[in-house]
């Protein structure tokens, strides 16, 4: 074990691979010292595991309840540890299955919005001039709308549903990444190594993709991780307004909306999914904070 560690921490790496792995290991060690960030990572990992193993973890069917016998049972009832909702469904099972929806939304939004943001930002930053002006004004226009309101408008136009909610959130999520990528690009576009690559005859596409995008990645990843909590909240907000996931899907926001009618007498129907959203958002925020600390190259060691 110690040999692996020594190999990783060697200050004279023998290969590129060793250097890369060593760098990653150092980052990890750095990250591990931050207790809060580590807690965030644990929450996110737990969420992922919960989503993967949902069918084995959930004690009951999330979609089928027994109206006559298990309706609105309080938490800590045997077999229904988080209580049941107004359809007699087990809230714990619904939360577990709901983690799949939440995770899918977060992952898909990240996969759709990040490349778009990166592409727009780096292109604008690299070319400058009218390309920059046009792309950034479009970005400004999208940024000028409040996120949730814009997402609402898109969902209203596309029709309610989880797929449309993902598309709508993605449409509203990319501009900050474009901004960020452009700023990063501006600082490096006039560097010597870019000029050298140009002299060697590399195309603009190659320069952007091979030399600029990798350098923007770390700051964008941090930003995406920090935004995940916001994405979860937006998705839950759409679900709450009836425009996201549709019944009987156990989307957390929709579950809160359903429980709102019973808030006075049966607080847990709305409180449990609320807690879930709170914990997961917190997890992503802590993780994002920690990542920013370890990935920021300008940070003082």
């Amino acid at each position: 074990m110690t040999t692996t560690r020594d190999w990783l921490l060697s200050d004279r790496p023998a290969s590129r691979r060793q250097a890369k792995l060593g760098q990653s290991y150092r980052t990890w060690l750095d990250f591990r010292t931050n207790a809060l960030a580590f807690l965030g990572l644990l929450i996110v990992v737990a969420l992922v595991l919960m989503a993967i193993f949902a069918p084995w973890l959930a004690p009951h069917d999330p979609l089928v309840g027994d109206l006559n016998h298990t309706r609105l049972l309080p938490p800590l009832t045997e077999g229904y540890w988080l209580g049941t909702d107004d359809q007699g469904r087990d809230i714990l099972s619904r939360l577990i299955y709901g983690s799949r929806i939440t995770l899918a939304v977060v992952a898909l939004v990240a996969v759709i919005a990040t490349p778009v943001g990166l592409l727009v930002g780096t292109t604008a930053g690299y070319f400058g001039g009218w390309v920059d002006t046009v792309l950034m004004r479009i970005t400004d226009i999208v940024l000028a709308f409040p996120k949730l309101i814009l997402a609402l408008a898109f969902v209203a136009a596309l029709g309610p549903g989880i797929e449309n909610a993902i598309i709508a959130i993605s449409i509203t999520a990319w501009p900050p990444y474009a901004r960020l990528a452009r700023a990063e690009t501006l600082t490096i576009r006039n560097s010597d190594f870019i000029a050298a690559t140009k002299l060697q005859g590399a195309s603009s596409l190659r320069i952007i993709w091979k030399h600029i995008v990798p350098l923007c990645m770390s700051s964008v990843i941090i930003r995406v991780t920090l935004d995940m909590a916001g994405i979860i909240l937006t998705a839950a907000g759409l679900g709450f307004l009836g425009l996201g996931a549709q019944p009987p899907q156990p989307e957390w926001g929709a579950m809160i909306a359903g429980g709102r009618n019973f808030l006075v007498d049966y607080w847990w129907v709305a409180a449990m999914p609320g807690m879930a959203i709170f914990i997961v958002s917190l997890g992503f925020n802590l993780l994002g904070d920690g990542l920013r600390d370890v990935l920021d190259p300008k940070r003082q060691k």
């Binding site: 006559n68 309610p160 549709q246 009618n261």
Partner: protein, 531 residues
Amino acid sequence: MFHSRLLASAALGALLLGATPAVTFAETPPDTLIQAWSIDDIISLDPAEIFEFTPAEMAGNSYETLIGYDPMNVSDVFGKAAESWTVSDDGKTLSFTMKPDRTFASGNPITAEDAVFSLVRAVKLDKSPAFIIGQLGITPDNVEDMIVQTGPMTFDFKMDKAYSPSLVLYCLTATIASVVDKQLVMQHEVDGDYGYGWLKTNYAGSGPFTIKDWRPNEAVIMERNPNYSGDAPAMARIIYRHIPETATQRLLLEKGDIDIARNLTAVDIAALEDNADIKIENGVKGSLYYLGLNQKNEYLSKPEVRQAMKYLIDYDTIANTIMAGKVKVHQAFLPEGFLGAVNDNPFSLDVEKAKALLAEAGLADGFTVTMDTRNTPEITAMAQAMQQTLAQAGIKLEIIPGDGKQTLTKYRARNHDIYIGRWGPDFQDPHTNASTFAYNPDNADDAASKPLAWRNAWDIPELTAETDAAMLEADADKRADMYVDEQKYVMENGPFVIYAQEIEVAGQRANVNGMIIGPSFNDNNFAGVTK
């Protein structure tokens, strides 16, 4: 320093003063009845236009119709503004005599002139409820020849056919047949509008209460009518407060800030049951909850599938859990309390039978179908419960939520698969529901009349003819039998899964007595309320 201390003590004193009323019990004044209700459906206070639930109740307490019925026994019909009537031998003319020596709230006498004016005005204005009179063959063009004053206190009401007398009389108990004060209304006439612009927000009637003020989405204030001919009500004032949130209504009721809460949910009712300060009053309403199955859908048009759907609703469970206290199971298109209503409920949840029926239709593996669902908590909860039971037979129900306007617009254009809805009768005669559930004179997309049978594209020439015949049947027993047959046929074959009848619930403070909850909203009566 001195000043600031003075200021501080003054502020403290003000705070204490301000806090005092909160400490004492916030009781309502003894001669005022305060109700919390969602009154945002009011668009007009003119009886010729009122077609919504809440203004119908207000009109019922402030106007007098020609004829009334006992809300506890609907078949007991008596004159309200009219004293008596006779039916001509050919059955086409009713001759009314008005009650003598009575006055409107304004002090003007009530005469046959006012009654004729009110009916002619309603037909000429031709607002939403005008068809109630119009279906008797009275149009804006011929109304002046059909409804004619024959003396100071008498007038004739003529029709184009000899309609069943009970149908005609029930039509004249509807809000649209309220007698309005001609003299007062015509003082406010603008460009021959029959005072419509003025009466929309004002009052010209003769009921136990007068409508003093209507502030949209805020309040309606009614006051005792000093010129009312009957017993003067004990309450000097009735105030309706617009409070849309049911939880807020419940809290206000618990605190004693209001006397009656009108929109309590099943959860609220259960929670208030043990409260000694509060009692729950209820009354069976005529409104029905049903599913409309569009016959344009390839699956739903199969008769076996329609039957199977009726075996896949857990009627009792819905009525006992989600809607506990707010509905009762009912499956015929005439609500309980109507002439000829069928009150036995042959269908119950039977998954095996439904599966067999689906297999017969060649759909043993089920199918996928959508349901347009209004996004109110109760409708959504019922839709989800149905989604679960339908899934047991392999029918995948996709819920498409929308607000009331969206879902209704789609339904009216018959672009739905399934629509989950609520239907309220327009007047107390069975024809009101028969003419919509069992009547479809033209199933073409551009048909002029669009009853519920049309909205679900159910082509029924024979049944339509039967409904027309029942409308003209003079013998009440024979007529009732005709409606029983129609209901049984619709129950077995129709594209309607009728599953519940509404029960109206009013949470009242324990000291409130005498509110009558009638079968329709204009029957809810506050004249006898004491506290």
